[in-house]
């Protein structure tokens, strides 16, 4: 069998076994391999389609034929009603969740980066700040965000300090920023720690100062590496902005809740869920893509 591979020029008996000058033609062996690969992939496609149909079909039948399905679809999937309340939900979404996300994401980025830099610095002058930053991260990574929102939202106004806001929207943002900064600081710190010490050594040996080394060599590499997890945190942040509704902020979830308690129809909740999905699904897809790219880049570097 193996001798056949050499006659790659269509089995012309007079031709040299290896012909570099002429047009390459796949050998019969290669053609055979291609045909069986094609057949195999066709068979795999068929199996995948069949099994999907079977599993998803069964699931659909079980749900639809269940005794409560009629009532459920009337109270959760009343699309006419759903589109009627959609404007209110969208208003809440754009006026609260989106604005909250934008303000919080920016502040969290700045605060998280600052905390990460303080925690990774070795300067003796920063020692008290380092202790504070470590305590901060320990505390706010360990407390459920809902509790922080409640504590900030009800605790700060209770202090009755003059000039400090009682606006639940502002207090809600502050609570979100406090919590997420602790997470983001740790993500960025881990990125900084993954930059190899030899990169620092190279930068310092060129005469760059500690700060310049951080600014031009360490941080650009660190932030690039942690972009996928940071995007992941952004998706979580968008969803968690809904938690401030507990303070009475009329966001998408609160707007849906108000409607639901009026009509006892739960379709507004489903609509609110869909509104979140429209934003989060593209973002998670984008996150997956950046993650894949960064892995590819690291692999390429590993080979160089």
């Amino acid at each position: 069998m193996s001798q056949e591979v050499g006659r790659s020029n269509g089995g012309n008996s007079g031709a040299a076994p290896y012909s570099f000058g002429g047009e390459w033609q796949p050998s019969p062996i290669e053609l055979g391999r291609r045909a069986s690969r094609k057949a195999k992939s066709r068979r795999n496609g068929l199996i995948a389609a069949l099994s999907s149909l079977l599993v998803l079909g069964t699931l659909a039948i079980v749900v639809v034929t269940s005794p409560g399905w009629k009532v459920l679809s009337a109270t959760f999937f009343d699309w006419g009603y759903g589109f009627e309340v959609l404007p209110k939900i969208l208003t809440g979404f754009f006026q609260s969740n989106v604005i909250l996300t934008l303000i919080a994401a920016t502040s969290v980025g700045i605060l998280g980066l600052t905390i990460a830099l303080i925690r990774t610095s070795r300067s003796p002058a920063l020692t008290p700040f380092r202790i504070l930053a470590t305590g901060y991260v320990d505390a706010f990574r360990g407390i459920p965000m809902l509790l922080i929102i409640l504590l900030v939202g009800f605790g700060i106004p209770a202090l009755q300090i003059r000039g400090v806001t009682n606006d639940v929207f502002v207090l809600g943002i502050i609570a979100v920023i406090i919590t997420y900064s602790a997470y983001v600081a740790e993500v960025i710190r881990s990125g900084i720690l993954t930059v190899h010490p030899s990169q620092r050594a190279a930068a310092r040996s060129l005469g760059l100062s500690n700060f310049q080394t951080l600014r031009y060599v360490v941080l650009p590499q660190a932030l690039r590496r942690v972009t996928p997890p940071l995007l992941n945190d952004l998706v979580a942040l968008i969803k968690d902005t809904g938690l401030v509704s507990i303070l009475g902020v009329t966001d998408a979830i609160r707007a849906a809740q108000i409607e639901t308690s009026r009509t006892f129809n739960y379709t507004p909740y489903v609509m609110a869920a869909l509104v979140f999905l429209i934003v989060t699904i593209p973002l998670t897809r984008y996150t997956d893509r950046t993650l894949r790219k960064s892995i590819e880049r690291q692999n390429a570097q590993g080979q160089a």
Partner: protein, 249 residues
């Protein structure tokens, strides 16, 4: 005779209880190359890192142009500006293009304008036959090309002294020569350098002085012909014999 560019006087370095350099004294006059040889772990790299102040020494003095750089009042950043260092593992900045790697220090440390820095960098790249790689990222280059870029990067700041730490040890045998000829070129142009290497043939070509280190001590030193052909100390003889057997001479 003026001061040597570099002088080490009885330098000692320990990591905890482990002494890695002991009683190291050398002089490196201007336009000369001093080659450090010795087995892995003998202290060659540590010695270079100490000269560059990447490691603090535990005793002794290091002088650059007659000035004590190990004095606690010296600013290490200022000293490093005058020294170039090339590492075994290249250590190019992977997020920067070749040109950006080279102009970083001239711009940020030496205050050159971007245009001037770029012009000088392109001149160097052209001189070493890497002009067309200026806009590539380091991971697109072969190991030999990366190391030559690293050498150019350290040259761009016009160092008083160049430190080369086993610059060919991470390279395929076929790529070693292009890097070695770059170093030879620098030597011919009068660059003062200290280099650690396992390439004895190369050491013979560029060295003005060869130092053999074992366990952190300089066992023997002298001209390359003395050291590599007629070493007196049995430990040097033994080391060279082993290198010879490994086919690296």
């Amino acid at each position: 005779m003026s001061n040597p560019v570099l002088e080490l006087v009885e330098v000692r370095k320990a990591f905890g209880a482990e002494v890695v350099l002991e009683d190291i004294s050398i002089k490196v006059p201007e336009h000369t190359a001093t080659v450090l040889i010795g087995a892995s772990g003998s202290g060659k790299s540590t010695m270079l890192r100490c000269i560059n102040l990447l490691e603090l020494i535990d005793d002794g003095v290091i002088k650059l142009d007659g000035i004590d750089i190990t004095d606690v009042s010296t600013n290490p950043d200022e000293i490093r500006r005058k020294l170039g260092m090339v590492f075994q593992s290249f250590n190019l900045f992977p997020h920067m293009k070749v040109l950006e790697n080279i102009i970083l220090a001239p711009m940020r440390v030496h205050g050159l304008g971007k245009e001037e820095a770029t012009e000088k960098a392109l001149e160097l790249l052209t001189r070493f036959g890497l002009r067309e790689k200026a806009d590539q990222y380091p991971d697109r280059l072969s190991g030999g090309q990366q190391q030559r870029v690293a050498i150019i990067r350290s040259l761009a700041v016009e160092p008083r002294l160049l430190l080369l730490d086993e610059v060919t040890s991470a390279l395929d045998p076929v790529l070693v020569n292009e890097v070695l000829s770059t170093v030879r070129d620098l030597k011919d142009h009068g660059m003062t350098m200290v280099l650690a290497t396992h390439e004895m043939g190369f050491a013979k070509q560029v060295a003005d002085e060869v130092c053999f280190l074992e366990r952190g001590r300089i066992i023997e030193w002298g001209s390359p012909s003395e050291m590599l052909e007629n070493p007196k100390d049995p430990r040097t003889q033994d080391f060279l014999k082993r290198v010879h057997e490994a086919g690296r001479l």
